[in-house]
């Protein structure tokens, strides 16, 4: 029974609202461990879903699920230390919504029905909104408001797109269940016009949630105002969940032979996101916002890769996995920086290399990883995307792509150098506890290991996932 994997965090989440923090904190880690165990079992056995009309185990879902589980487990360990060091009112609400958030994201990875997918993605917005408002300040209120309103309106577009897909079924006189897997099989007989319209609306809708420009405006605010464990979850896994919705719709488009159309749109939105990130990262003065823009950049890279197809689609999935691992480690480290320096502005930090050496190691290697230096996986992913683009002769696309990546690297490096090596006269307000640096090390190490050695089953799952959108290691 596949569904148990999101029912467990749902129940513990509801339970967590009513217990004091002495129980709530261990409950978070405990649920994380159970969730990880369950998803490893799911990988091994790949059982059928009980409600097979609505849920299914798919390769792309399995990949996201494993990332979610691993990340949540490590983040929950970090969260204990974070909660002790920071003052959060109503901690039970925070823990409860963290668990509900986990539950809804898991549901996204397992949904197969188009509308259930929508329900689950909208539910992730609703369960994560209270997390952003945890600090109860005016700015966090504004971020929450923007997040809920922009994402709800955006996702409403995706609902409209999903309805258009059902219209495509009506007009093509297709009688099939309304699930991604069934529609992929009958894609040829769907009405192409309405399918295209549906894809565009779904891309705009879930693209809002994924942080594609120009719908990305909520993302930097939400990521910078949320407490760091929540930011790590938002950036590391929530964006992937939204991408999953686009990916699955793209599968239908590919099966219907409309992939030229969908590729073009994906590439345009992807490039816009990378360019938007490049523009804003250069003059950024807050480090958490800088990381948020880097997420927008990486989502753009993933969209471009998926759009190009072939080996680039494989690269996009590699980028997705490694972005989650590395970016969440960066956000956790940024939590340490925030607690240590007590300030979000880059100018009020400095000399991290000697003041917070353990965090420095995690933060700096995370930076190296996210900007595409060789020992980390993003390098390989981006390389595949570039190779794929050259193979398919998209020279302009890849020219813009590479130029923007260079600009982003320059901007990013400049800020990181300031945080790490500039002079700093104040005092550091926390001690670097082991539980607040080891999760980052493990995340980065996982990324490193995946770069040199990827288990066959993972490799095969990635290939299975991308074959359906015309990708593969060819």
């Amino acid at each position: 029974m596949v569904e148990i994997i999101f029912i467990v965090p749902f129940i513990t989440g509801l339970f967590a609202f009513f217990v004091p923090k002495q129980i709530g904190r261990p409950l978070l880690v405990f649920t994380g461990a159970i969730h990880l165990l369950l998803s490893l079992l799911l990988w091994k056995n790949r059982p059928e879903a009980y409600f097979s009309d609505y849920f299914a185990v798919t390769p792309e879902g399995l990949l996201s699920l494993l990332v979610i589980s691993l990340l949540f487990f490590l983040i929950s360990i970090y969260t204990i230390g974070y909660l002790e060091a920071s003052k959060i009112q109503a901690e039970n609400i925070f823990t409860g919504f963290m668990l509900l958030f986990l539950s809804t994201m898991t549901m996204v990875t397992l949904s197969d029905h188009i509308m259930i997918m929508w329900i689950a993605i909208e539910a992730t917005t609703l369960t994560s909104a209270p997390l952003i408002y945890t600090h109860r300040s005016g700015a966090s209120l504004e971020a929450t408001w923007k997040y809920v309103l922009i994402c709800s309106v955006g996702i409403a577009m995706a609902l409209l797109g999903s309805v258009f897909v059902t219209l495509a079924m009506d007009i093509g006189q297709v009688d099939a269940p309304l699930s991604f897997s069934a529609l992929t099989q009958v894609a040829k007989s769907l009405d192409p016009l309405w399918l295209k319209a549906g894809f565009v609306f779904i891309l705009v809708g879930y693209g809002t949630k994924m942080g594609l420009a120009p719908m990305h405006t909520w993302l930097p605010d939400a990521h910078s105002e949320a407490p760091s464990p929540a930011s790590a979850l938002l950036s590391g896994v929530l964006l992937n969940c939204a991408y999953l919705g686009i990916f699955k719709t793209n599968k239908i488009m590919y099966a219907a032979g409309l992939n030229d159309f969908s590729s073009l749109i994906l590439i345009v939105f992807g490039l816009m996101s990378i360019l938007a990130a490049a523009t804003f990262i250069l003059k950024q003065n807050e480090y958490k916002r800088m990381l948020a823009y880097s997420s927008i950049e990486n989502m753009g890279i993933i969209a471009v890769g998926t759009g190009i197809g072939g080996i680039a689609a494989y690269g996009a999935i590699i980028c997705m996995i490694h972005h989650s691992l590395i970016k969440s480690s960066l956000f956790l480290s940024s939590g340490n920086i925030l607690l240590g320096y007590g300030n979000r502005l880059i100018t009020n930090t400095g000399d991290m290399v000697s003041r917070m050496p353990k965090t420095f190691i995690a933060f700096f290697s995370g930076f190296a990883g996210i900007s595409g230096f060789p020992p980390f996986g993003i390098f390989i992913g981006e390389l595949f995307i570039i190779v794929g683009a050259f193979r398919s002769g998209r020279y302009v696309t890849i020219g813009i792509f590479i130029a923007a990546l260079c600009v982003i690297f320059a901007g990013f490096a400049n800020q990181i150098m300031k945080i790490s090596f500039d002079k700093f006269d104040g005092t550091i307000q926390i001690k670097e506890k082991a539980s607040m640096v080891w999760p980052q090390y493990i995340l980065l190490l996982t990324s490193l290991i995946f770069c040199f050695y990827m288990p066959d089953t993972v490799y095969q799952t990635i290939v299975d996932a991308v074959t359906a959108v015309g990708g593969g290691l060819r």
């Binding site: 509308m115 909208e122 219209l167």
Partner: protein, 214 residues
């Protein structure tokens, strides 16, 4: 041409759309949204799909949530704070009304071009849906008052529901109910945020929400 009951009640919705472009007071706008919610939830009744017991229960639940609970929760959220306030337009009322008229013409023209077989008997179904959707977006963009923005979102959702009435033939009610619950929870959360915005900034004018920007 004899109008069928669906088109007759949808005419009122189109009129209410025009009304919401020109209305300056929030309580008025809330009642308009409530009226639209009631109409879109009873439309499937008249579409002539076979009514089962499950379908009946679902329609009543939709009616309760879209027509009563959602507007009421917004009303309660703002009762103490901003009830007699204006919607703080960015685009003026006369210009808004003109936009509304243009929109209805465009929506009617568009739906004639699209030629949808499943709803071809109901001339006004698709134009009304488009009009509701675009009006919702218009209110989101052209009003600075946070409550008016939430009402715009609800109006959009009503419009999508109306497009989805064709979809409701094939979907199980459990799926539709899930969508409805999400929308309800979304509006509830927005209402809570509205109260907090009011408490923190002492107003619901979104021009005050300007600390986070590039």
């Amino acid at each position: 041409m004899i109008l069928n009951p669906v088109d007759t009640i949808l005419t009122f919705v189109l009129l209410s759309v025009l009304f919401s472009f020109g209305s300056s007071r929030l309580p008025m706008l809330i009642s308009v949204v409530a009226f639209q919610g009631i109409v879109v939830s009873i439309v499937p009744f008249f579409l002539g799909h076979g009514m089962t017991a499950g379908g009946m229960t679902f329609t009543i639940a939709t009616l309760l949530i879209r027509g009563i609970i959602i507007p009421m929760s917004i009303y309660i959220a703002i009762k103490k704070v901003a009830i007699h306030r204006e919607v703080e337009p960015i685009v003026g009322y006369h210009a808004s009304l003109l936009c509304g008229l243009g929109l209805i013409v465009a929506a009617t023209y568009l739906s004639r071009q699209l030629n949808l077989p499943s709803i071809s008997n109901y001339t006004l179904l698709f134009p009304t849906a488009i009009a509701l959707l675009v009006t919702g977006m218009f209110l989101l963009m052209a009003r600075r008052n946070a409550i008016a923005m939430v009402l715009g979102y609800i109006m959009m959702e009503n419009g999508i529901y109306l497009v989805g009435t064709t979809f409701s033939v094939r979907a199980r009610h459990i799926v539709e109910f899930g969508i409805l619950l999400d929308v309800l929870a979304g509006v509830m959360i927005m209402a809570i945020i509205l109260q907090n915005i009011k408490r923190t900034f002492d107003d619901v004018d979104t021009a005050l929400l300007r600390t986070l920007k590039e």
